[in-house]
């Protein structure tokens, strides 16, 4: 029996060795792949001493706000699927490291108050990217294999694709803005489906929590004398015509009351007629031309009022 045990231990270790080497190599390789989270963090930390305007929000802001056209030094700290929880965490993490910060733009979408990643939604994997790359842990995050293994986070299937076809690249400027050229077709049908998806992601039970996150951000900014402004980005008519007006009205009331309490500005560009079909990549995201136009409008109309004077 001792011979058998020795045999299985030796053979077991020899057998496992190549697998361990493979898994470790994959982990090392995957950690080198740039993501919007890792690249954005590097750019932010290189420039935080100079940032005057910070933009937070979801994909609407990530693709739609190009700080190069602010007229001030800006940084886009928004990201795809970013929730108010992560807006709050990132704001609290960095605003004190930005000595020149004058104001913060917080993007508020149709679904902002009702939406949460929470680990169990289709976009729940993003929680693990925030955990790995920003060091921010969502309170309900399940510490499963994705919390320590990048192979499981990307999924082995996707990793195999990267090995053969190369890893995806990140297209992001040093301001944190990412250009978005083309998305879904701009049509009534596509817009209707998009709004339906957003409606499905809105959960009433998330409202209270998300409002408290926004209050925390506004309160922190007010304490520091930093201007704040809540902005709703332009969308195309194929999208906004399907929005539930009761939801919009409720959210507008919440935002109005918050801005009364915290002294923030409120600008709603959802139905702004200055934006035509040529400005949109899809039904609710601006393309680079649209982002340039919108950012210039922000720089001319919003920031002078919102940002604290020197």
């Amino acid at each position: 029996m001792h011979q058998d045990i020795k045999k299985i231990i030796v053979r077991g270790l020899l057998f496992l060795l190549p697998l361990i080497v493979l898994l470790v190599s994959l982990e090392v390789y995957l950690r080198q792949i740039p993501t919007s989270y890792s690249v954005k963090r590097v750019y932010l930390e290189q420039q935080e001493n100079n940032v005057q305007v910070l933009a937070l929000g979801s994909s609407h802001a990530y693709f739609g706000i190009n700080p190069s056209y602010f007229g001030l030094v800006g940084f886009n700290l928004a990201d795809v699927g970013q929730t108010l929880f992560y807006d709050k965490e990132l704001a609290l993490k960095y605003i004190d490291a930005m000595p020149k910060l004058k104001c913060v733009l917080i993007e508020s979408s149709y679904f902002s108050f009702g939406y949460d990643l929470n680990g169990k939604t289709p976009e729940g994997w993003r929680d693990y990217f925030y955990y790995h790359y920003w060091g921010i842990k969502q309170p309900n995050l399940t510490m499963d294999s994705r919390a320590w293994s990048y192979t499981m986070l990307y999924t082995p299937r996707a990793v195999l694709g990267y090995l053969f076809r190369g890893a995806p690249t990140v297209s992001m400027e040093r301001t944190g803005w990412s250009p978005f050229e083309h998305g879904d077709a701009i049509s009534d049908e596509a817009g209707r489906i998009r709004v339906a998806n957003h409606d499905a992601s809105i959960r009433p039970e998330n409202y209270e929590r998300n409002i408290s996150y926004l209050k925390t951000i506004l309160s922190a900014l007010k304490e520091r004398g930093i201007g704040s402004v809540i902005v709703s980005e332009p969308t195309y008519k194929t999208y906004y015509q399907f929005l539930n007006t009761q939801t919009e009205k409720r959210d507008d009331e919440i935002l109005s009351n918050l801005c009364k309490d915290y002294g923030c500005g409120r600008y709603n560009f959802t139905r702004d007629q200055r934006f035509t079909i040529r400005d949109f990549a899809d039904n609710d995201h601006l393309n680079p031309d649209g982002a340039k136009k919108f950012s210039a409008i922000l720089g001319a109309e919003v920031l002078p009022r919102a940002c604290k004077a020197d």
């Binding site: 058998d4 299985i8 697998l19 499981m152 082995p156």
Partner: protein
């Protein structure tokens, strides 16, 4: 704790190493503790339910053996009622209540009994049947009552087969806990090979096919004949690979430690008749029903009408065992009907085989029979998998609709797009089913595939293992998909 989880990846080697390190007299205790931990990884408080039935059956077994005459039967009935009672409460309360509600509603009144929010204890149907098997065998005098409470508890809770079988018999399992199992390299390697194969079937084949089957069955009205047939066939292989994969992992894990569990699947889709199918599919359950229900009803030693009733009734109950829904009962009824119809038409079918000359082409005859049995089985799976009776009837009524749409390349492309399947995923699915059939075919040969692999040079052998592991890693689905039979 799922077999295809990192938790089990740590749990299994730790328990196995400790098992072989400990002196024999302590091993049963280690296994019992490990089994308790394994079970409590699901819903800890449900261990109390298991403890309740274990205590009842342990005591019942001892007193049945000691008693004489009518008292023995009373004790058996108490044991069976307590087991069935727990099963009925947790599994069937809301189903029964729903039916009462519908009847009362039809009579113009309402049901005052509230529905319960009960989570079904994992593996309840399996360990309940295993426990019932013990008291019945003690009653029949075929199994001595187990005096060691810990050993009896381990018989019910033995972790490899606790939550989804195979449903063991006390004559096969209990004595093994008393036997000293020495470490044997070949046996351990064989057990690990079987576990690897089981995991391949689950992660690479079953869970991959599930994505398509779920798409179809969760959205039946979006599909016509071609999509529905693909969904049904994919589900047929999904449920086989899922369940037999689990059984393989259970049998393999037990084998590593020196325990022999019964075979639960034997190439069921190569069956040439429905009765042969049931000698190859979920063997531990079908033999349980044969030995404890069918034979108790008289089996085939009764009048022909009664015999047919016995067969049909057993399959009705089997359907109900699988789930608290009329669709499962209908599934069981269909198989009961198939069996009875097969018996009724046996002579006619033999006659047509003779006059058609098909008997001269045994290969073709067997192929046709296999195809027919597979088609009948797949048809029955519609009711097993459908979310509701209405969905099942939609599938049945649209099986032959829309076939004209797939005669063109664009039609096939549209069908694949509607199934959320790209060409690559389809190729992987077909290749993995092909691998499955080849492995099963080779395994059915005299020496068995496992023995042939063991005889290969180490380089080739390890190459095969690496291929299986890499296939599981890169082509497996890891979305915490539970084994299908866990819900029973």
């Amino acid at each position: 704790m799922l077999f295809n989880s990192f938790h089990f990846l740590i749990f299994f080697p730790v328990v196995t190493i400790l098992y072989f390190v400990l002196p024999h007299r302590f091993r049963w205790f280690l296994l019992l503790l490990a089994s308790v931990y394994f079970y409590m990884a699901f819903v800890p408080v449900y261990i109390l339910i298991l403890a309740f039935t274990i205590v009842i059956d342990y005591i019942a077994g001892i007193y049945i053996e000691k008693s004489q005459g009518k008292k023995r039967k009373v004790l058996l009935v108490i044991s069976l009622i307590s087991n069935i009672g727990v099963l009925a409460f947790f599994k069937y309360f809301n189903f029964i209540n729903l039916n009462i509600t519908e009847v009362l509603h039809a009579l113009g009144t309402s049901n005052p009994i509230p529905f319960l929010s009960i989570l079904l204890p994992i593996g309840l149907s399996f360990h309940t049947f295993q426990a019932m098997s013990y008291t019945i065998e003690v009653y029949r005098g075929k199994q001595p009552a187990e005096r060691n409470f810990g050993i009896y508890a381990l018989y019910v809770m033995f972790y490899p087969q606790l939550v989804a079988g195979p449903i063991e018999r006390p004559q096969n399992l209990i004595h093994q806990f008393y036997e000293e199992h020495s470490f044997d390299y070949e046996r351990v390697a064989s057990g690990l090979r079987l576990m690897l194969w089981g995991l391949f079937k689950k992660a690479v084949i079953a869970d991959r096919l599930a994505a398509v089957a779920d798409k179809v069955f969760n959205n039946t009205h979006q599909f016509a004949g071609p999509g529905l047939v693909i969904g049904i066939v994919f589900f047929a292989f999904q449920i086989f690979c899922d369940f037999s994969g689990y059984s393989d992992m259970a049998i393999g894990a037990a084998r590593v430690m020196g325990f022999r569990l019964m075979k639960n699947f034997d190439r069921p889709y190569s069956a040439k008749s429905i009765s042969e199918l049931w000698s190859r599919w979920h063997i531990s359950l079908s033999t349980w029903f044969r030995d404890y229900l069918y034979i108790s009803l008289g089996g085939s030693r009764v009048s022909i009408p009664r015999w047919y009733f016995n067969l049909f009734f057993v399959f009705l109950v089997s359907g109900l065992w699988h789930g608290a829904n009329w669709t499962f009962v209908l599934w069981g009824a269909l198989h009961g009907f198939y069996l009875v119809f097969g018996l009724l038409t046996k002579d006619i079918r033999a006659y047509f085989t003779r006059i058609s000359g098909l008997f001269k082409l045994p290969g073709l005859q067997n192929a046709l029979r296999i195809l027919i049995v597979f088609s009948l089985t797949s048809f029955a799976w519609i009711f097993f998998r459908a979310n509701s009776f209405a969905d099942a009837m939609y599938v049945v009524s649209h099986l032959f609709a829309g076939w004209g749409s797939v005669v063109s390349v664009s039609g096939i492309s549209n069908l694949l797009a509607s199934l959320n399947v790209n060409r690559e995923a389809l190729i992987i699915a077909f290749l993995s089913v092909l691998i499955l059939e080849v492995v099963q075919y080779l395994n059915a040969k005299k020496d068995g595939l496992s023995a042939r692999i063991a005889a290969l040079p180490i380089g080739l052998r390890w190459g095969l293992y690496y291929c299986a592991i890499l296939a599981i890693l890169f082509f497996g689905v890891f979305e915490s998909r539970q084994f299908i039979y866990f819900q029973f």
